[in-house]
Protein backbone atom coordinates (compact mmCIF):
# COMPACT_ATOMS: atom_id res chain seq x y z
CA UNK A 1 0.00 0.00 0.00
CA UNK A 2 1.24 3.41 -0.97
CA UNK A 3 0.00 5.11 2.16
CA UNK A 4 2.19 2.93 4.34
CA UNK A 5 5.34 3.79 2.39
CA UNK A 6 4.99 7.56 2.58
CA UNK A 7 2.00 8.31 4.81
CA UNK A 8 0.40 11.76 4.67
CA UNK A 9 0.85 14.11 7.61
CA UNK A 10 -1.48 13.13 10.48
CA UNK A 11 -4.48 15.42 10.84
CA UNK A 12 -7.23 15.46 13.42
CA UNK A 13 -9.95 17.14 11.36
CA UNK A 14 -11.24 14.03 9.58
CA UNK A 15 -11.87 12.33 12.92
CA UNK A 16 -13.97 15.24 14.17
CA UNK A 17 -15.96 14.97 10.96
CA UNK A 18 -16.46 11.23 11.52
CA UNK A 19 -17.71 11.87 15.05
CA UNK A 20 -20.07 14.63 13.91
CA UNK A 21 -21.47 12.38 11.20
CA UNK A 22 -22.07 9.58 13.72
CA UNK A 23 -23.98 12.01 15.96
CA UNK A 24 -26.18 13.12 13.09
CA UNK A 25 -26.83 9.49 12.15
CA UNK A 26 -27.94 8.60 15.68
CA UNK A 27 -30.28 11.57 15.83
CA UNK A 28 -32.29 10.26 12.89
CA UNK A 29 -33.68 7.33 14.92
CA UNK A 30 -36.11 9.55 16.77
CA UNK A 31 -38.55 6.82 17.75
CA UNK A 32 -35.71 4.82 19.31
CA UNK A 33 -34.60 7.89 21.23
CA UNK A 34 -38.06 8.41 22.72
CA UNK A 35 -38.52 4.75 23.66
CA UNK A 36 -35.05 4.78 25.20
CA UNK A 37 -35.85 7.71 27.46
CA UNK A 38 -39.32 6.29 28.16
CA UNK A 39 -37.84 2.99 29.24
CA UNK A 40 -35.45 4.71 31.64
CA UNK A 41 -38.34 6.55 33.26
CA UNK A 42 -40.38 3.36 33.65
CA UNK A 43 -37.42 1.55 35.13
CA UNK A 44 -36.61 4.38 37.54
CA UNK A 45 -40.25 4.37 38.63
CA UNK A 46 -40.42 0.58 39.12
CA UNK A 47 -36.98 0.27 40.72
CA UNK A 48 -37.95 2.88 43.30
CA UNK A 49 -40.94 0.71 44.28
CA UNK A 50 -38.73 -2.37 44.52
CA UNK A 51 -36.29 -0.63 46.86
CA UNK A 52 -39.05 1.01 48.92
CA UNK A 53 -40.66 -2.41 49.46
CA UNK A 54 -37.35 -4.01 50.43
CA UNK A 55 -36.43 -1.23 52.85
CA UNK A 56 -39.90 -1.23 54.40
CA UNK A 57 -39.72 -4.88 55.47
CA UNK A 58 -36.07 -5.21 56.42
CA UNK A 59 -33.35 -3.42 58.36
CA UNK A 60 -31.61 -0.88 56.10
CA UNK A 61 -27.96 -1.63 55.29
CA UNK A 62 -25.63 0.68 57.18
CA UNK A 63 -23.88 2.29 54.21
CA UNK A 64 -26.82 2.72 51.89
CA UNK A 65 -30.02 4.26 53.23
CA UNK A 66 -33.09 4.30 50.98
CA UNK A 67 -32.41 7.69 49.37
CA UNK A 68 -28.85 6.59 48.54
CA UNK A 69 -29.93 3.34 46.87
CA UNK A 70 -32.53 5.16 44.78
CA UNK A 71 -29.86 7.64 43.74
CA UNK A 72 -27.54 4.72 42.96
CA UNK A 73 -30.10 2.99 40.72
CA UNK A 74 -31.05 6.17 38.89
CA UNK A 75 -27.46 7.21 38.22
CA UNK A 76 -26.69 3.63 37.10
CA UNK A 77 -29.52 3.76 34.57
CA UNK A 78 -28.31 7.10 33.23
CA UNK A 79 -24.75 5.79 32.99
CA UNK A 80 -26.17 2.86 31.04
CA UNK A 81 -27.25 5.29 28.29
CA UNK A 82 -23.57 5.76 27.54
CA UNK A 83 -22.03 2.51 28.77
CA UNK A 84 -24.37 0.11 26.99
CA UNK A 85 -23.35 1.35 23.56
CA UNK A 86 -21.21 -0.92 21.46
CA UNK A 87 -19.05 1.85 20.00
CA UNK A 88 -16.92 -0.33 17.74
CA UNK A 89 -19.83 -2.37 16.35
CA UNK A 90 -18.80 -1.00 12.93
CA UNK A 91 -15.62 -3.06 13.10
CA UNK A 92 -17.57 -6.29 13.42
CA UNK A 93 -20.09 -5.27 10.76
CA UNK A 94 -17.38 -4.28 8.31
CA UNK A 95 -15.48 -7.49 8.87
CA UNK A 96 -18.71 -9.35 8.28
CA UNK A 97 -19.54 -7.76 4.93
CA UNK A 98 -15.91 -7.34 3.90
CA UNK A 99 -16.01 -3.57 3.52
CA UNK A 100 -13.17 -3.28 6.06
CA UNK A 101 -10.82 -3.90 3.14
CA UNK A 102 -11.63 -0.48 1.68
CA UNK A 103 -11.19 1.16 5.10
CA UNK A 104 -7.61 -0.05 5.12
CA UNK A 105 -7.01 1.60 1.77
CA UNK A 106 -8.07 5.03 3.06
CA UNK A 107 -5.36 7.41 4.29
CA UNK A 108 -6.64 7.20 7.87
CA UNK A 109 -5.89 5.27 11.03
CA UNK A 110 -8.58 2.60 11.06
CA UNK A 111 -8.85 2.12 14.85
CA UNK A 112 -9.01 5.89 15.32
CA UNK A 113 -11.75 6.06 12.70
CA UNK A 114 -13.84 3.55 14.66
CA UNK A 115 -13.03 5.36 17.88
CA UNK A 116 -14.21 8.68 16.39
CA UNK A 117 -17.36 7.11 14.98
CA UNK A 118 -18.13 5.44 18.31
CA UNK A 119 -17.41 8.64 20.23
CA UNK A 120 -19.90 10.55 18.10
CA UNK A 121 -22.54 7.95 18.87
CA UNK A 122 -21.69 8.03 22.57
CA UNK A 123 -21.72 11.85 22.71
CA UNK A 124 -25.19 11.89 21.25
CA UNK A 125 -26.40 9.44 23.90
CA UNK A 126 -24.57 11.42 26.58
CA UNK A 127 -26.67 14.42 25.55
CA UNK A 128 -29.77 12.30 26.21
CA UNK A 129 -28.74 12.09 29.87
CA UNK A 130 -29.89 15.70 30.33
CA UNK A 131 -33.57 15.24 29.35
CA UNK A 132 -33.65 11.78 30.97
CA UNK A 133 -32.36 13.15 34.24
CA UNK A 134 -34.77 16.08 34.12
CA UNK A 135 -37.71 13.72 33.62
CA UNK A 136 -36.42 11.20 36.17
CA UNK A 137 -36.35 13.96 38.77
CA UNK A 138 -40.12 14.18 38.40
CA UNK A 139 -40.35 10.55 39.56
CA UNK A 140 -37.58 10.23 42.15
CA UNK A 141 -35.31 12.34 44.27
CA UNK A 142 -31.64 12.09 43.35
CA UNK A 143 -28.97 13.12 45.86
CA UNK A 144 -26.41 15.62 44.63
CA UNK A 145 -23.02 15.18 46.33
CA UNK A 146 -20.35 17.83 46.91
CA UNK A 147 -18.37 19.23 44.01
CA UNK A 148 -15.26 17.23 44.96
CA UNK A 149 -17.21 13.99 44.97
CA UNK A 150 -18.83 14.86 41.64
CA UNK A 151 -15.42 15.52 40.13
CA UNK A 152 -14.08 12.18 41.40
CA UNK A 153 -17.20 10.46 40.08
CA UNK A 154 -16.72 12.11 36.68
CA UNK A 155 -13.10 10.98 36.46
CA UNK A 156 -13.95 7.46 37.60
CA UNK A 157 -16.89 7.24 35.19
CA UNK A 158 -14.62 8.35 32.34
CA UNK A 159 -12.03 5.66 33.15
CA UNK A 160 -14.87 3.15 33.45
CA UNK A 161 -16.09 4.22 30.03
CA UNK A 162 -12.63 3.65 28.54
CA UNK A 163 -12.48 0.19 30.14
CA UNK A 164 -15.86 -0.58 28.59
CA UNK A 165 -14.54 0.69 25.27
CA UNK A 166 -11.55 -1.68 25.45
CA UNK A 167 -13.77 -4.66 26.31
CA UNK A 168 -16.16 -3.90 23.45
CA UNK A 169 -13.27 -3.34 21.08
CA UNK A 170 -11.69 -6.67 22.07
CA UNK A 171 -14.99 -8.48 21.56
CA UNK A 172 -15.41 -6.92 18.13
CA UNK A 173 -11.82 -7.82 17.29
CA UNK A 174 -12.60 -11.50 17.82
CA UNK A 175 -14.58 -11.14 14.59
CA UNK A 176 -11.19 -11.30 12.82
CA UNK A 177 -11.15 -14.98 13.76
CA UNK A 178 -14.79 -15.98 14.10
CA UNK A 179 -17.75 -14.10 12.71
CA UNK A 180 -20.34 -15.34 15.22
CA UNK A 181 -19.67 -13.10 18.19
CA UNK A 182 -23.13 -11.98 19.32
CA UNK A 183 -23.52 -14.77 21.90
CA UNK A 184 -20.20 -13.87 23.53
CA UNK A 185 -21.09 -10.17 23.49
CA UNK A 186 -24.37 -10.86 25.22
CA UNK A 187 -22.68 -13.04 27.83
CA UNK A 188 -20.35 -10.15 28.64
CA UNK A 189 -23.27 -7.68 28.76
CA UNK A 190 -25.17 -9.82 31.24
CA UNK A 191 -22.07 -10.46 33.36
CA UNK A 192 -21.40 -6.71 33.44
CA UNK A 193 -24.95 -6.08 34.62
CA UNK A 194 -24.58 -8.46 37.53
CA UNK A 195 -20.86 -8.35 38.43
CA UNK A 196 -20.43 -4.67 37.59
CA UNK A 197 -23.01 -3.62 40.15
CA UNK A 198 -25.25 -2.05 37.51
CA UNK A 199 -28.36 -3.78 38.86
CA UNK A 200 -27.53 -4.39 42.51
CA UNK A 201 -24.68 -2.70 44.40
CA UNK A 202 -21.75 -5.05 44.92
CA UNK A 203 -21.75 -4.18 48.64
CA UNK A 204 -24.94 -6.26 48.95
CA UNK A 205 -23.13 -9.40 47.77
CA UNK A 206 -22.15 -11.99 50.38
CA UNK A 207 -18.86 -10.99 52.00
CA UNK A 208 -16.71 -13.67 50.34
CA UNK A 209 -18.02 -12.87 46.85
CA UNK A 210 -17.50 -9.14 47.35
CA UNK A 211 -13.74 -9.58 47.55
CA UNK A 212 -13.72 -11.47 44.27
CA UNK A 213 -16.00 -9.22 42.22
CA UNK A 214 -14.38 -6.01 43.46
CA UNK A 215 -11.25 -6.91 41.53
CA UNK A 216 -12.86 -7.91 38.25
CA UNK A 217 -12.84 -5.34 35.44
CA UNK A 218 -16.66 -5.18 35.52
CA UNK A 219 -16.61 -3.51 38.94
CA UNK A 220 -14.40 -0.77 37.53
CA UNK A 221 -17.02 0.04 34.91
CA UNK A 222 -20.10 0.70 37.04
CA UNK A 223 -19.55 -0.05 40.69
CA UNK A 224 -16.53 2.17 41.42
CA UNK A 225 -17.98 5.43 40.01
CA UNK A 226 -21.38 4.69 41.55
CA UNK A 227 -20.00 3.94 45.00
CA UNK A 228 -17.97 7.15 44.81
CA UNK A 229 -21.15 9.05 43.91
CA UNK A 230 -23.19 7.74 46.84
CA UNK A 231 -20.26 8.11 49.25
CA UNK A 232 -19.64 4.45 50.14
CA UNK A 233 -16.13 4.97 48.76
CA UNK A 234 -15.04 8.00 50.78
CA UNK A 235 -12.43 10.60 49.72
CA UNK A 236 -9.65 8.74 51.56
CA UNK A 237 -10.19 5.75 49.26
CA UNK A 238 -10.49 7.63 45.94
CA UNK A 239 -6.84 7.12 45.10
CA UNK A 240 -6.90 3.35 45.64
CA UNK A 241 -10.17 2.84 43.78
CA UNK A 242 -9.07 4.87 40.77
CA UNK A 243 -5.66 3.16 40.77
CA UNK A 244 -7.41 -0.24 40.39
CA UNK A 245 -9.44 1.21 37.51
CA UNK A 246 -6.32 2.56 35.81
CA UNK A 247 -4.62 -0.80 36.22
CA UNK A 248 -7.49 -2.51 34.42
CA UNK A 249 -7.46 0.15 31.74
CA UNK A 250 -3.73 -0.41 31.16
CA UNK A 251 -4.10 -4.20 31.03
CA UNK A 252 -7.12 -4.21 28.70
CA UNK A 253 -5.69 -1.41 26.56
CA UNK A 254 -2.45 -3.36 26.06
CA UNK A 255 -4.34 -6.53 25.16
CA UNK A 256 -6.52 -4.56 22.75
CA UNK A 257 -3.47 -3.20 20.92
CA UNK A 258 -1.87 -6.63 20.62
CA UNK A 259 -5.08 -8.27 19.41
CA UNK A 260 -5.77 -5.49 16.92
CA UNK A 261 -2.29 -5.82 15.41
CA UNK A 262 -2.62 -9.58 15.10
CA UNK A 263 -6.08 -9.23 13.56
CA UNK A 264 -5.16 -6.46 11.14
CA UNK A 265 -2.19 -8.56 10.02
CA UNK A 266 -4.58 -11.36 9.05
CA UNK A 267 -6.64 -9.02 6.91
CA UNK A 268 -3.58 -7.88 4.98
CA UNK A 269 -2.50 -11.49 4.45
CA UNK A 270 -5.94 -12.47 3.21
CA UNK A 271 -6.10 -9.44 0.94
CA UNK A 272 -2.86 -10.51 -0.78
Amino acid sequence: MNASIRGPRFRFEPYFAFAARAMAREATYRFDVFTNIGSILVRVYLLRMVWVALYAHNAAPRDLPLHAIITYSTVALLMGLVMDIDQTRALHERLHDGSIATDFLKPISVPLYYFADGTGEVLFHALLIVPSLALALLVVHVDVPSFGTLAAFGLSFFIGYLIGFCINFLLNCTAFWTLEISAVQMIVTWLTGLLGGELVPLVFFPEALQHVVAFLPFASMFSTPLLIYVGVIGPERYLGAIAVQLLWLAILGAIAIVVWRAGAQRIVVQGG
Binding site: Y29, R43, L54, A183, L194
Partner: protein
Protein backbone atom coordinates in the same frame (compact mmCIF):
# COMPACT_ATOMS: atom_id res chain seq x y z
CA UNK B 1 -49.89 -28.45 8.00
CA UNK B 2 -48.73 -31.16 10.38
CA UNK B 3 -46.31 -32.41 7.75
CA UNK B 4 -44.89 -28.93 7.18
CA UNK B 5 -44.48 -28.50 10.92
CA UNK B 6 -42.69 -31.82 11.31
CA UNK B 7 -40.35 -30.90 8.47
CA UNK B 8 -39.73 -27.54 10.16
CA UNK B 9 -38.45 -29.28 13.27
CA UNK B 10 -36.38 -31.72 11.26
CA UNK B 11 -34.55 -28.80 9.57
CA UNK B 12 -34.15 -26.97 12.89
CA UNK B 13 -32.46 -29.91 14.51
CA UNK B 14 -30.26 -30.64 11.52
CA UNK B 15 -29.18 -26.99 11.41
CA UNK B 16 -28.35 -27.06 15.11
CA UNK B 17 -26.26 -30.19 14.65
CA UNK B 18 -24.42 -28.52 11.77
CA UNK B 19 -23.50 -25.38 13.73
CA UNK B 20 -22.43 -27.04 16.95
CA UNK B 21 -20.03 -24.34 18.18
CA UNK B 22 -22.60 -21.66 17.70
CA UNK B 23 -25.13 -23.77 19.56
CA UNK B 24 -22.77 -24.20 22.49
CA UNK B 25 -22.11 -20.46 22.66
CA UNK B 26 -25.82 -19.69 22.81
CA UNK B 27 -26.25 -22.42 25.39
CA UNK B 28 -23.57 -20.73 27.48
CA UNK B 29 -25.37 -17.41 27.09
CA UNK B 30 -28.62 -18.98 28.23
CA UNK B 31 -26.96 -20.31 31.36
CA UNK B 32 -25.53 -16.86 32.08
CA UNK B 33 -28.89 -15.21 31.32
CA UNK B 34 -30.95 -17.29 33.73
CA UNK B 35 -28.04 -17.73 36.12
CA UNK B 36 -27.57 -13.98 36.52
CA UNK B 37 -31.33 -13.49 37.08
CA UNK B 38 -31.36 -16.08 39.85
CA UNK B 39 -28.09 -14.74 41.27
CA UNK B 40 -29.61 -11.24 41.38
CA UNK B 41 -32.56 -12.60 43.36
CA UNK B 42 -30.15 -14.41 45.65
CA UNK B 43 -28.05 -11.31 46.29
CA UNK B 44 -31.08 -9.09 46.90
CA UNK B 45 -32.66 -11.56 49.29
CA UNK B 46 -29.34 -12.21 50.99
CA UNK B 47 -29.29 -8.55 51.98
CA UNK B 48 -33.05 -8.21 52.49
CA UNK B 49 -34.43 -11.57 53.71
CA UNK B 50 -38.05 -10.73 53.04
CA UNK B 51 -39.68 -9.14 50.02
CA UNK B 52 -43.27 -8.47 50.96
CA UNK B 53 -43.25 -11.76 52.87
CA UNK B 54 -41.52 -13.74 50.11
CA UNK B 55 -38.18 -15.42 50.76
CA UNK B 56 -35.53 -16.55 48.29
CA UNK B 57 -36.85 -20.12 47.99
CA UNK B 58 -40.33 -18.95 47.11
CA UNK B 59 -39.05 -16.42 44.61
CA UNK B 60 -36.80 -19.03 43.00
CA UNK B 61 -39.91 -21.19 42.58
CA UNK B 62 -41.81 -18.27 41.08
CA UNK B 63 -38.94 -17.64 38.66
CA UNK B 64 -39.27 -21.29 37.59
CA UNK B 65 -42.81 -20.66 36.34
CA UNK B 66 -41.72 -17.67 34.29
CA UNK B 67 -38.65 -19.49 32.97
CA UNK B 68 -40.70 -22.50 31.83
CA UNK B 69 -43.44 -20.47 30.14
CA UNK B 70 -40.95 -18.09 28.55
CA UNK B 71 -38.77 -20.97 27.34
CA UNK B 72 -41.79 -22.72 25.85
CA UNK B 73 -42.67 -19.50 24.01
CA UNK B 74 -39.08 -19.07 22.81
CA UNK B 75 -38.95 -22.65 21.59
CA UNK B 76 -42.22 -22.67 19.67
CA UNK B 77 -42.84 -19.07 18.64
CA UNK B 78 -39.50 -17.25 18.53
CA UNK B 79 -40.09 -16.34 14.87
CA UNK B 80 -42.97 -14.05 15.81
CA UNK B 81 -40.56 -11.48 17.14
CA UNK B 82 -38.74 -11.27 13.80
CA UNK B 83 -41.93 -10.25 11.96
CA UNK B 84 -41.09 -6.49 12.07
CA UNK B 85 -37.70 -7.21 10.54
CA UNK B 86 -39.29 -9.36 7.81
CA UNK B 87 -41.89 -6.71 7.05
CA UNK B 88 -39.12 -4.15 6.67
CA UNK B 89 -36.96 -6.22 4.34
CA UNK B 90 -39.94 -7.51 2.37
CA UNK B 91 -39.46 -11.18 3.27
CA UNK B 92 -42.80 -11.25 5.05
CA UNK B 93 -44.62 -10.73 1.74
CA UNK B 94 -43.60 -14.21 0.65
CA UNK B 95 -45.79 -15.77 3.34
CA UNK B 96 -48.81 -13.92 1.95
CA UNK B 97 -48.78 -15.81 -1.34
CA UNK B 98 -48.41 -19.22 0.26
CA UNK B 99 -51.36 -21.61 0.61
CA UNK B 100 -51.00 -21.85 4.39
CA UNK B 101 -51.98 -19.20 6.91
CA UNK B 102 -49.31 -16.49 6.93
CA UNK B 103 -48.89 -16.53 10.71
CA UNK B 104 -48.37 -20.29 10.65
CA UNK B 105 -45.94 -19.94 7.74
CA UNK B 106 -43.99 -17.37 9.77
CA UNK B 107 -43.88 -19.50 12.89
CA UNK B 108 -42.78 -22.53 10.87
CA UNK B 109 -39.84 -20.79 9.16
CA UNK B 110 -36.84 -22.96 10.03
CA UNK B 111 -33.93 -21.43 11.84
CA UNK B 112 -31.58 -22.79 14.42
CA UNK B 113 -34.05 -23.65 17.14
CA UNK B 114 -33.52 -26.40 19.64
CA UNK B 115 -35.51 -27.16 22.79
CA UNK B 116 -32.46 -26.74 25.02
CA UNK B 117 -33.85 -23.81 26.99
CA UNK B 118 -37.07 -25.70 27.61
CA UNK B 119 -35.19 -28.74 28.90
CA UNK B 120 -33.09 -26.56 31.16
CA UNK B 121 -36.22 -24.78 32.42
CA UNK B 122 -37.94 -28.08 33.21
CA UNK B 123 -34.87 -29.24 35.09
CA UNK B 124 -34.66 -25.97 37.01
CA UNK B 125 -38.37 -26.03 37.80
CA UNK B 126 -38.03 -29.51 39.31
CA UNK B 127 -35.21 -28.37 41.56
CA UNK B 128 -36.94 -25.12 42.53
CA UNK B 129 -40.13 -27.01 43.41
CA UNK B 130 -38.18 -29.30 45.72
CA UNK B 131 -36.15 -26.40 47.13
CA UNK B 132 -39.29 -24.39 47.94
CA UNK B 133 -40.85 -27.44 49.58
CA UNK B 134 -43.94 -27.33 47.40
CA UNK B 135 -46.24 -30.29 47.91
CA UNK B 136 -46.40 -32.26 44.64
CA UNK B 137 -49.65 -34.14 44.13
CA UNK B 138 -51.76 -35.18 41.19
CA UNK B 139 -53.34 -31.72 40.90
CA UNK B 140 -49.85 -30.16 40.68
CA UNK B 141 -48.77 -32.56 37.93
CA UNK B 142 -51.91 -31.86 35.91
CA UNK B 143 -52.10 -28.12 36.49
CA UNK B 144 -48.48 -27.11 35.97
CA UNK B 145 -48.29 -28.05 32.26
CA UNK B 146 -51.58 -26.25 31.63
CA UNK B 147 -50.38 -23.15 33.48
CA UNK B 148 -47.07 -23.18 31.60
CA UNK B 149 -48.90 -23.50 28.26
CA UNK B 150 -51.18 -20.62 29.25
CA UNK B 151 -48.15 -18.57 30.28
CA UNK B 152 -46.48 -19.20 26.93
CA UNK B 153 -49.67 -18.02 25.20
CA UNK B 154 -49.63 -14.81 27.25
CA UNK B 155 -46.02 -14.23 26.20
CA UNK B 156 -46.93 -14.98 22.58
CA UNK B 157 -49.97 -12.70 22.66
CA UNK B 158 -47.93 -9.71 23.81
CA UNK B 159 -45.17 -10.50 21.35
CA UNK B 160 -47.67 -10.82 18.51
CA UNK B 161 -49.46 -7.60 19.44
CA UNK B 162 -46.19 -5.65 19.33
CA UNK B 163 -45.16 -7.30 16.05
CA UNK B 164 -48.55 -6.40 14.59
CA UNK B 165 -47.81 -2.73 15.29
CA UNK B 166 -45.15 -2.94 12.61
CA UNK B 167 -47.90 -3.03 9.97
CA UNK B 168 -48.37 0.63 10.87
CA UNK B 169 -44.94 1.67 12.19
CA UNK B 170 -41.82 0.44 10.49
CA UNK B 171 -39.51 0.43 13.50
CA UNK B 172 -40.89 -1.19 16.64
CA UNK B 173 -37.67 -2.95 17.63
CA UNK B 174 -36.94 -0.60 20.52
CA UNK B 175 -40.45 -1.07 21.90
CA UNK B 176 -40.11 -4.84 21.63
CA UNK B 177 -36.74 -4.86 23.30
CA UNK B 178 -37.93 -2.62 26.12
CA UNK B 179 -41.05 -4.69 26.79
CA UNK B 180 -38.89 -7.80 27.07
CA UNK B 181 -36.47 -5.98 29.34
CA UNK B 182 -39.24 -4.81 31.63
CA UNK B 183 -40.81 -8.26 31.59
CA UNK B 184 -37.64 -10.05 32.60
CA UNK B 185 -36.51 -7.46 35.10
CA UNK B 186 -39.69 -6.64 36.97
CA UNK B 187 -41.90 -9.73 36.84
CA UNK B 188 -39.43 -11.70 38.91
CA UNK B 189 -40.58 -9.82 42.02
CA UNK B 190 -43.96 -10.36 43.70
CA UNK B 191 -46.17 -7.72 42.14
CA UNK B 192 -47.61 -6.86 45.54
CA UNK B 193 -44.64 -4.51 45.97
CA UNK B 194 -45.82 -2.23 43.16
CA UNK B 195 -48.35 0.57 43.23
CA UNK B 196 -51.98 -0.17 42.47
CA UNK B 197 -51.79 1.03 38.87
CA UNK B 198 -48.76 -1.15 38.09
CA UNK B 199 -50.48 -4.17 39.67
CA UNK B 200 -53.55 -3.59 37.53
CA UNK B 201 -51.44 -3.28 34.36
CA UNK B 202 -49.56 -6.51 35.14
CA UNK B 203 -52.81 -8.33 35.91
CA UNK B 204 -55.18 -7.10 33.21
CA UNK B 205 -53.40 -5.13 30.47
CA UNK B 206 -50.10 -7.05 30.10
CA UNK B 207 -51.07 -10.09 32.17
CA UNK B 208 -47.52 -11.23 32.97
CA UNK B 209 -48.61 -11.81 36.57
CA UNK B 210 -50.52 -14.88 35.41
CA UNK B 211 -47.32 -16.41 34.06
CA UNK B 212 -45.64 -16.70 37.44
CA UNK B 213 -47.03 -14.64 40.30
CA UNK B 214 -50.57 -15.98 40.65
CA UNK B 215 -49.61 -19.63 40.01
CA UNK B 216 -46.71 -19.43 42.49
CA UNK B 217 -49.01 -17.85 45.07
CA UNK B 218 -51.53 -20.61 44.58
CA UNK B 219 -49.07 -23.46 45.07
CA UNK B 220 -47.29 -21.73 47.97
CA UNK B 221 -50.65 -21.08 49.65
CA UNK B 222 -49.94 -17.38 49.90
CA UNK B 223 -52.49 -14.64 49.96
CA UNK B 224 -52.21 -11.05 48.88
CA UNK B 225 -54.87 -8.70 50.12
CA UNK B 226 -53.64 -5.93 47.85
CA UNK B 227 -55.04 -7.70 44.78
CA UNK B 228 -58.61 -7.78 43.62
CA UNK B 229 -58.41 -11.51 42.82
CA UNK B 230 -58.90 -14.60 45.00
CA UNK B 231 -56.23 -17.30 45.35
CA UNK B 232 -57.90 -19.46 42.73
CA UNK B 233 -56.72 -16.93 40.10
CA UNK B 234 -53.51 -18.96 40.06
CA UNK B 235 -55.09 -21.73 38.03
CA UNK B 236 -56.84 -19.36 35.62
CA UNK B 237 -53.65 -18.88 33.60
CA UNK B 238 -54.70 -21.22 30.73
CA UNK B 239 -57.92 -19.24 30.33
CA UNK B 240 -56.11 -15.90 30.45
CA UNK B 241 -53.67 -17.26 27.86
CA UNK B 242 -56.47 -18.24 25.49
CA UNK B 243 -58.27 -14.91 25.85
CA UNK B 244 -54.99 -12.99 25.34
CA UNK B 245 -54.02 -14.86 22.22
CA UNK B 246 -57.55 -14.54 20.82
CA UNK B 247 -57.40 -10.76 21.25
CA UNK B 248 -53.88 -10.54 19.84
CA UNK B 249 -54.82 -12.71 16.86
CA UNK B 250 -57.84 -10.50 16.16
CA UNK B 251 -55.56 -7.47 16.19
CA UNK B 252 -53.13 -9.31 13.89
CA UNK B 253 -55.96 -9.97 11.37
CA UNK B 254 -56.89 -6.29 11.39
CA UNK B 255 -53.28 -5.34 10.71
CA UNK B 256 -52.90 -7.98 8.04
CA UNK B 257 -56.03 -6.81 6.21
CA UNK B 258 -54.80 -3.28 5.87
CA UNK B 259 -51.21 -4.24 5.11
CA UNK B 260 -50.08 -3.19 1.64
CA UNK B 261 -46.36 -3.83 1.78
CA UNK B 262 -43.69 -1.32 2.60
CA UNK B 263 -42.87 -0.67 -1.04
CA UNK B 264 -40.22 -3.01 -2.36
Amino acid sequence: MVRVYREYWRINILTTLEYRENFLMWLAFMLVYHGSAIATLYVVLHQFPSMNGWDFRQMAFMYGFWMLAHALHNTLFSNVSSIPEHIRDGNFDRTLVRPLDSLFATIATPGQIFPDELLLAAFYFGIATWYAGVHVDLAFVVLVPLIVAGGALIDLAIDLAISTLSFWFVRVDALKWITLQLEEEFTRYPIGIYSRSVRLVLTFALPFAFMNYFPAMYFLHKTDSSLPLPAIAGVLTPLVGIVSIALAYGFWRVGLDRYQGVGH
